[in-house]
């Protein structure tokens, strides 16, 4: 970018809104990482064989010996009478909890079929909470495909926890969004060094560590898809901190700065704390960026991480976004990101997969980010692809992971170069 052209962002870019066939997961998929994050929670999907099959397929078939999630599969007779369905549910829950006394939080998770036949899981959760309290808290949320897209399942889960969080008058910082433990620990130690304590997280690793919330709580998101949780916390009187999301050296720095400004921390001290990890991230990202610089990239909608990632790849790695698709565009949460994303790409919301495939084929970007159902077919057409789901299942937040994040995009390009005969000559 030369100095004489002013920076133009995507803030005012019109959004291409589409609807049609969506090649995305439903919100149930979030259970796969949430059940590892919350170590005393069990997620019981009330749904069909399809739900069970989805969880198994998305989890890569049988990763865990006995996972802390399962599906209460509705059968013919459950459809006939809802009273019976409730009795059956009570029985299955009792059996589950007696076999797994380590479970302290049980989430009843709604699915497409349970919502269509209107099984009232909120009431069921209340009833079961009454039966199994105080040993087990029973909550409910919907991960159904008719309500939620992929990462919105985590949003629905966290939002369901907010009303039950204890009240506090304490001035605390709350960081919201599931992170891998190692990343969360890095973040907490930097926040502590900055002087941002006390810091709480939602979700907590164990139900005994649940944060409290109140009028003096300030909270900040680490994941862009937490719109409902954001609204629920505001309803509890907490104050949001607006920031770009902590991807890359720049995103992480702006995120920490937003915290520092909101809490009135001394910027010189904060910058001194951040200097070393920030320099490490810049240096390591720069090395990976050599593979990415000048390459075009096309995002199919998947996790709502697309806009923040496009911003990181454009600004720190020199990539050229052609289209940035997102399943849902939350204007307020995305405002800081859109203000940083250089003008140029099509911003699309929702999906008509056939039309979007036509655009992707016409664009023939150097790298296409898409779901598992599309990746091999597009590779077979000669396009290099990146599985979007890896971006959710890999530690990618904050400084120490910035180069790993860039690496996820560089690897398919390096691989294509290695396997292309001309390139090897």
């Amino acid at each position: 970018m030369s100095l004489d052209t002013p920076f133009r962002s995507c803030t005012d870019t019109p959004v291409l809104k589409e609807r049609g066939q969506r090649e995305v997961f439903c919100g149930l998929t979030g259970i796969i990482w949430l059940h590892r994050k919350m170590q005393d929670a069990f997620f019981l999907v009330v749904g069909s064989r399809t739900c069970a099959h989805l969880l198994q397929a998305a989890a890569g078939v049988m990763i865990f010996a006995e996972p802390r999630f399962g599906t209460a599969i509705l059968e013919e007779k459950d459809l006939a009478g809802l009273a019976d369905a409730n009795m059956e549910l009570d029985r299955e829950v009792a059996r589950l909890l007696s076999r797994r006394p380590d479970i302290k939080q049980l989430f009843l998770v709604g699915s497409c079929p349970s919502e269509v036949i209107k099984i009232d899981l909120a009431r069921a959760a209340e009833r079961l909470d009454g039966i199994h309290a105080p040993n087990v808290r029973v909550l409910n949320f919907s991960g159904s495909g008719i309500e939620t897209t992929f990462t919105e399942g985590e949003d629905a889960c966290l939002a369901s926890m907010v009303p039950g969080l204890p009240h506090t008058e304490a001035a605390e910082l709350l960081v919201v969004g599931a992170l891998p433990d190692v990343v969360e620990d890095q973040m907490l130690s930097l926040l502590a060094a900055m002087g941002a304590g006390p810091v709480r997280t939602l979700p907590a690793r164990r139900s005994t560590d649940l944060p409290a919330v109140g009028p003096n709580t300030r909270f900040i998101l680490v994941q862009p898809f937490l719109g409902a949780t954001h609204a629920a916390l505001i309803k509890r009187g907490a104050t949001p901190i607006s920031a770009p999301f902590p991807f890359g050296a720049e995103g992480s720095t702006l995120w920490f700065h937003a915290v520092a400004d909101a809490l009135g921390l001394d910027r010189t001290h904060v910058d001194a704390v951040l200097a070393a990890p920030r320099a490490r991230a810049q240096k390591s990202v720069a090395a990976v960026a050599e593979t990415l610089r000048g390459k075009s990239i096309f995002f199919f909608p998947d996790s709502q991480l697309e806009i923040p990632l496009a911003r990181f790849l454009a600004r720190e790695c020199g990539m050229i976004p052609v289209e940035v698709g997102t399943p849902y565009l939350h204007r307020e949460l995305m405002a800081p990101e859109l203000a940083l994303l250089p003008e140029g790409p099509v911003i699309s919301e929702g999906q008509d997969v056939e039309l979007q495939l036509d655009r992707a084929r016409a664009a023939r970007a150097d790298l296409t980010v898409c779901g598992l159902g599309l990746a091999n077919p597009l590779e077979a057409e000669g396009l290099a692809t990146k599985w979007a789901i890896e971006l959710v299942f890999t530690p990618v937040h904050f400084y120490e992971q910035a180069a790993d994040l860039a690496g996820l995009f560089a690897r398919p390009l390096r691989r294509h170069a290695l396997l292309t005969p001309e390139a090897a000559e």
């Binding site: 439903c26 399962g70 589950l96 269509v116 159902g373 091999n376």
Partner: protein
């Protein structure tokens, strides 16, 4: 309502997808909510298909439910026809769409598309994937296959192979070759690689080869009745079954039996190196067809002892029960993998032949395992040619099942030098890639101090379960640990049974050896 952690079979519309994805020129319009597209990745990732399944999902959302999901379906069907120009279309509902009762069949008919549109009625809350595949293929065959003149030379159809099937691609190649040795050519293979136009000319064949009853038995019975085509009952998996199959084909066609070519399995089983396979206790679980075939091979062609046999698809319960009876067993018919795991833990077999689920159970229990049936994962769609059917299939199966085991001579050496510091039984079979773990030095020292008794200081992750009233005295338990791992389970079980039969409540070293003498063969 039934609590399920993992499932052997998907819902019935996934069975329909297996048929649609196997075929060419057919399109499936599925009334389904957002998220059901996950099923695409089964085909593109697990099977590494380079095309998307030919499926259009209507993708209705909550806000559509009050409004007009029926029009959403009609638009999707019309757009799919325009874009993909299929020769025929199948239409149906996934589990959620079944509840909103939009009648995809009627809606599609109202569109007056200039191609056959075949409605599917797949009850999601009572049936499963294999039923879905079988029913879908039957409906396609019923709609498109009509009586016609037979080919002059003897031809057959191969029916049953689908997408995501266990080695279906290679079984088709092997059977085509095998039937070729009798001078029989394949008229149509379906659903795999068949077009709707191919289905229409099924009737030209003299008979049908029913490769997989799970996915094509209803179609085979229909073709027998409507087109007067006989079909083969023997599934040619294993040497004996392949010979029976050829005899059955010879009876149907009047052609002479061909000379056997390329069969090595019987000699491999007879060669002295295989002696150590004798009487190894195997547990077999899978779809009914593969489980029955595996039991026959295990018992009669390799010389294992079948100690457990079962299937997850209730449709095949009857033949599996009958097969189990011939081995003196009660069949395990269940789709609950926890039940299968409990049974395997109880039986302590030396080898498990199963699906992806049993592979996982085997890993947990530390028992060797080979995969014989769907559902399978990406590693069971190999790049190399590796059929299960025909004579080459018999060769492949011998190699595959023997591979997880410790080799014959190695087994002897382990028995002799079982307390050696590197050549110990926890090191695993020497032909496997994983790094052998040396016995920790501290442990070796302790063992030497305790007179060479490794078991005293071996840290076992789980305490030995106490069966009934019988307990193991410490010295007997140590002696048990000296028995190599690949026979330890059998020794433990036999000793406990012997003790229980004799009314012995505490097992001593003497009990252990008395049991050994009692069971000596």
């Amino acid at each position: 309502m039934k609590l399920t952690l993992w499932t052997y079979e998907g819902p019935p519309h996934v069975g329909a997808m297996r048929v649609a994805t196997a075929m060419k020129g057919l399109h499936y319009v599925l009334h389904a909510p957002q998220g059901d597209t996950y099923a695409d990745l089964l085909f593109t990732m697990i099977e590494r298909r380079n095309h998307r399944p030919p499926v259009t999902y209507t993708t209705f959302q909550a806000r559509d439910l009050g409004a007009d999901t029926a029009n959403l379906f009609k638009d999707a069907a019309r757009d799919a026809y325009t874009r993909f120009q299929p020769q025929a279309m199948i239409v149906g509902a996934s589990c959620t769409a079944e509840l909103i009762q939009d009648d995809p069949g009627g809606l599609a008919e109202a569109l007056n598309l200039p191609i056959p549109v075949i409605p599917l009625d797949l009850p999601s809350y009572s049936r499963k994937e294999n039923f879905g595949a079988d029913e879908t293929f039957f409906q396609i065959v019923k709609a498109l296959a009509k009586p016609m003149a037979r080919t002059e030379s003897v031809t057959c159809n191969l029916i049953g192979p689908t997408a995501l099937g266990f080695r279906h691609r290679d079984d088709v190649t092997e059977l085509t070759r095998l039937l070729g040795t009798m001078g029989i050519t394949v008229n149509v293979c379906a659903p795999l690689d068949a077009t709707p136009a191919d289905i229409a000319r099924l009737g030209a064949a003299h008979f049908n080869v029913l490769m997989y009853p799970e996915t094509a038995e209803t179609a085979a019975r229909h073709l027998e009745k409507a087109l007067n085509q006989p079909f083969t009952r023997v599934v040619p998996i294993g040497t004996h079954a392949t010979r029976d199959f050829l005899a059955e084909v010879a009876t149907i066609t009047g052609l002479p039996l061909p000379a056997e070519t390329g069969l090595r399995q019987p000699w491999y089983a007879a060669s002295v190196d295989s002696t150590y396979l004798t009487g190894k206790r195997v547990f077999i679980f899978g779809d009914g067809t593969h489980a029955i075939a595996a039991a026959r091979i295990a018992a009669r062609e390799i010389g294992f002892e079948v100690v457990g046999l079962g299937c997850y698809n209730r449709e095949q319960a009857r033949p599996v029960r009958a097969a189990a009876k011939t081995y003196g067993l009660e069949a395990l018919i269940t789709d609950d993998y926890l039940e299968v795991e409990a049974e395997i833990a109880r039986l302590q077999p030396e080898l498990i032949l199963g699906t992806q689920m049993e592979r996982h159970i085997a890993k947990r229990l530390g028992i060797p395992c080979a995969v014989i049936s769907a559902p399978v994962h990406v590693q069971d769609f190999p790049a190399r040619y590796s059929p299960q059917m025909g004579f080459e299939g018999a060769n492949v199966i011998f190699d595959t099942w023997v591979h997880p085991l410790v080799m014959g001579l190695e087994e002897h050496l382990l028995t002799m030098f079982r307390e050696d510091f590197e050549f110990h039984d926890a090191a695993g079979p020497s032909h496997h890639g994983a790094k052998a773990s040396a016995r920790p030095e501290a442990l070796v020292a302790e063992v030497e101090a305790s007179g060479g008794d490794i078991s005293a200081s071996m840290n076992t992750p789980e305490p030995e379960p106490v069966t009934g009233e019988v307990i193991w005295l410490a010295d007997a338990e140590r002696e048990l640990k000296k028995i190599p791992f690949f026979v330890r389970g059998k020794a433990k079980r036999n000793t406990e049974k012997f003790a229980a039969d004799k009314g012995v409540t505490a097992i001593s070293i003497d009990t252990l050896y008395e049991a050994k003498a009692h069971y000596a063969r």
